[in-house]
C-alpha cells in the first residue's frame, strides 16, 4: 500500500505523531411512530435538549474566547442563534404533531431540509455552513437521547487526529498539549476547521480522500501541513529528515514572530518605518502578518488591468476602503493609476509608441483623461475617512503637473462636499521620485507636496538611459551606479531640507545589500513586498546610524559601480 498521500494543505507546520482515528459512534435515530399521548413528552424532550445544547455551546464559546479571542468565539454565537431559531423549533414541533414521529427524527428531518437548501447555493462559504448545521443537530439529538457527546479533549499525547470531518466544536475541544495535528477526508481551505487550525497554529491537511481507509489508530505518521502530504509509518530516514524540517520551520517562525512586533530601530536608537507594497486588498493580510506598519505603495493599476471595463467609483471606493480599514489607521499610500509604459488596458486605446517609457503614461494620461482621474480621486477621498490614506502621483517631471493634479483634487473635494460626502480634508498628497527631473531639484518640488517616495526601478532606468527590459544591456542596469545613488541622495536631502518625509518603494528598498547605505542616507521609510519586511528589519536592527552615515559618505565619493559594490 502506498504510504504517501496528498491532500490540501490547510495550516502550515510539520508534525510527527501517532494516528488517532476519530470515528464517532453513529447515532441511531429512532424512527418508530408515537401515539398522540406521547406528543407532549417528545416536545418536552426536544425543548430540554435544545436548552442543554445552548448551555454546552455557551461553555464552548467561553473556552474558545479564552484560547482564541472574540472573533473565533463569535462563530459559536452564530451556532447558538441557529439552535435558537424559532422556525426550526416550530417546524420540528409541527412534524412531531402531524406525522407522529419522535423528536430526534423530526429534528433530523428539519435539519436535513435546511442542509439541502444550503447545499444548493452557489456560494462555497454558505455551502460549507451545512457542516455547522450537522454539528448542531448531532449535539442536539445526543442531548435528546441523553447520550454523551464525544469528546476530543483527552487524547493521548502526540496524537494526529484523522477524521471524516471536524466540526467547529470538535476543533474547539482539541487539546493542543496532546494533539499535534489533524487530517480530514473532506473540506476546503475555508472550512471552519481549517480556519481554526491556522489560528491555533496547528498543522493540518483537509480534503485528503481515502485517508480513513489507509491508516489505523496507533500508526506512526508524518504530517506536512506545508505541502499537504502525510507519510504513514515512515522510515527512520524519513523521520530524521522531517524532524530537521520541523525544527527549521519552528525556528524560522519564532525568529519572524519576534521581529513582527519589533520596531525597526538602529542600535543608536533611530527609528525607520517598514511598509509593504500591495496590488490588491488581498495582500494586506500578508503585510500585517509580516509586521509592516503601513502600506507604502498601493498599486491601483491592477484594479484597472484586471477588468475588461473601467472600474467604477464604487468599485474603487470599496477596494480602497477595505485596505484602509484592514490597516486600522496605519498609513496607506495610494498611487493613482500608473498605466502606459509596459502596462496596457483592454478598454482604453493606448497608442503604439516608439518609446512607451518616455511616452503617454501615468500622470500624463490622468491629466489628459480628467474624468477617469476624477473618478479615482473621488473614490480615494471617500475611502479616506476609514483610515489614514495618502495620495501619490506617479511619473511627475514638473511642478506644473503637481499643481494641476492638486487643482483637480480640490475640484473633487468640492464636488463631494456639495453632496455632503465626508472625506479627510487634510489628506496628504505626495509624488513618486522616479525621474531625474525631480531628483535634481527635489527641494523645489518638496515645497509643493507632503511626501516623496522614490521609485528606484524607473529612476535607475531614466538616470542611466537603460531600458530595463533589454537583455543586451542588462549589465548596465544597476541601481548601485554612483549616479543613481547620487540622485537618491539628492531626493532625500531635498525632502528633508523642506521638512517632508521620504520613503522608497522600488526593488532597491528590499535589496539587503542596500539597506545600510539607505539608512546612512537617512531614508525615513522602506516599502517592499511583505515577505521581505522581516529580513530588512533584521538588518536595520543591527546597524548604527552614525556608522552607516560615515560609510555612505565614503561610498558616494567612489567612481565606479564595481568600487561601490566592493565597499558596501
Amino acid at each position: 500500500m502506498k504510504n504517501l498521500l496528498k491532500g490540501i494543505p490547510a495550516s502550515p507546520g510539520i508534525s510527527i505523531g501517532k494516528v488517532f482515528l476519530y470515528q464517532e459512534n453513529k447515532i441511531n435515530i429512532n424512527k418508530t411512530n408515537i401515539t398522540k399521548n406521547e406528543i407532549e413528552n417528545e416536545i418536552l424532550l426536544l425543548k430540554s435538549g435544545k436548552q442543554k445544547t445552548i448551555e454546552q455551546l455557551v461553555q464552548l464559546r467561553e473556552s474558545i474566547f479564552k484560547k482564541l479571542g472574540v472573533e473565533k468565539a463569535e462563530i459559536f454565537d452564530g451556532h447558538i442563534t441557529l439552535v435558537d431559531d424559532e422556525d426550526l423549533l416550530d417546524e420540528t414541533i409541527e412534524k412531531i404533531e402531524d406525522d407522529l414521529i419522535r423528536a430526534e427524527y423530526a429534528l433530523e428531518l428539519s435539519i436535513n431540509e435546511y442542509c439541502e437548501m444550503l447545499a444548493n447555493l452557489e456560494d462555497t462559504y454558505l455551502r460549507e455552513r451545512a457542516t455547522d448545521l450537522k454539528d448542531i443537530s448531532k449535539r442536539w439529538i445526543s442531548n435528546i437521547k441523553g447520550l454523551e457527546f464525544y469528546d476530543l479533549s483527552s487524547l493521548p499525547k502526540g496524537s494526529i487526529v484523522i477524521a471524516e470531518d471536524l466540526t467547529p466544536s470538535d476543533t474547539a475541544q482539541l487539546n493542543l498539549d496532546n494533539v499535534f495535528g489533524f487530517v480530514t477526508e473532506v473540506g476546503g481551505k475555508t472550512a471552519h476547521s481549517a480556519i481554526m487550525a491556522r489560528s491555533l497554529e496547528l498543522p493540518a491537511i483537509v480534503g485528503l480522500k481515502g485517508i480513513l481507509n489507509s491508516t489505523k489508530s496507533g500508526d506512526n505518521m508524518i504530517l506536512d501541513g506545508l505541502s499537504g502530504e502525510v507519510i504513514i509509518n515512515p522510515s527512520e530516514t524519513q523521520i530524521n529528515e522531517f524532524t530537521q524540517k520541523m525544527e527549521n520551520f519552528i525556528k524560522e517562525k519564532e525568529d519572524l514572530k519576534k521581529l513582527k512586533t519589533k520596531k525597526a530601530i538602529t542600535t543608536d536608537n533611530v527609528k525607520f518605518n517598514l511598509w509593504a507594497n500591495i496590488g490588491s486588498p488581498k495582500d494586506v493580510e500578508s503585510a500585517i502578518e509580516n509586521g509592516a506598519e503601513g502600506i507604502g505603495l498601493y498599486r491601483t493599476e491592477f484594479l484597472f488591468m484586471n477588468s475588461d471595463k473601467q472600474p467604477t467609483e464604487d468599485d474603487q471606493f470599496l477596494a480602497y476602503k477595505t485596505v484602509a480599514e484592514k490597516m486600522e489607521g496605519k498609513p496607506v499610500t495610494i498611487r493613482t493609476m500608473d498605466i502606459g509604459g509596459d502596462k496596457e488596458l483592454s478598454y482604453m486605446e493606448l497608442p503604439n509608441e516608439m518609446n512607451p517609457f518616455l511616452g503617454w503614461r501615468a500622470i500624463r494620461i490622468s491629466l489628459d483623461k480628467v474624468d477617469i482621474f476624477k473618478t479615482q480621486l473621488k473614490a480615494i477621498l471617500r475611502a479616506s475617512v476609514f483610515g489614514q490614506i495618502k495620495i501619490m502621483f506617479p511619473m511627475v517631471i514638473s511642478v506644473d503637473e503637481i499643481r494641476e493634479a492638486k487643482t483637480i483634487l480640490e475640484e473633487c473635494k468640492k464636488e463631494l462636499k456639495d453632496i455632503n460626502i465626508d472625506f479627510d480634508e487634510n489628506i496628504k498628497v505626495g509624488i513618486m521620485v522616479e525621474t531625474p527631473a525631480v531628483a535634481f531639484r527635489a527641494n523645489i518640488f518638496a515645497k509643493e507636496v507632503d511626501f516623496f517616495s522614490i521609485g528606484t526601478n524607473d529612476l535607475t532606468q531614466y538616470c542611466l538611459a537603460v531600458d530595463r527590459g533589454n537583455e543586451r544591456i542588462s549589465n548596465l542596469y544597476n541601481s548601485f551606479n554612483p549616479s543613481v545613488l547620487t540622485a537618491i541622495k539628492m531626493a532625500i536631502d531635498g525632502a528633508h531640507q523642506e521638512g517632508i518625509s521620504i520613503s522608497m518603494c522600488g526593488e532597491f528598498a528590499a535589496d539587503e545589500r542596500a539597506s545600510k547605505l539607505l539608512v546612512g542616507m537617512g531614508l525615513d521609510s522602506f516599502s517592499m513586498s511583505a515577505s521581505s519586511v522581516p529580513r530588512i528589519k533584521n538588518n536595520i536592527l543591527g546597524y548604527n546610524k552614525k556608522e552607516c552615515q560615515e560609510n555612505m559618505e565614503k561610498l558616494l565619493k567612489l567612481s565606479t559601480v564595481k568600487e561601490v559594490m566592493n565597499n558596501l
Binding site: 463569535e74 442563534t81 441557529l82 435546511y114 444550503l118 452557489e122 480599514e325
Partner: protein, 87 residues
Amino acid sequence: MEKTITITNETGIHTRPGNKFVTLAKSFESKILVKNEETKKEVKGTSLLKLLSLGIKKNTKITLTTTGNDEAKAMNELSELLLNLKD
C-alpha cells in the same frame, strides 16, 4: 416600509453577519421580511436559517420590509447594519 439594498461586504450574509442581523431584528415589534431580488425568495428576518438559505452574496440586491409599530426605527437600524457589514 420597504427598501432595496445592495450587500457590499466580501462574504455576503453568512453566519456571523446573519446572526447580528437576526439578533437585532428580534428586538423589534415589527414583522421583518427579507427578499433576495435575484431569486425572488422572501423569508422572515428573524430566522437565521431562513436568512442563510437566501444565499445572499456580495452585490446581491435585497429588499427589506418592516411592518408594525416601530417599522421606521427597525428599517433604519437594520439597513444601517447591512450597509456597514464587514469581512
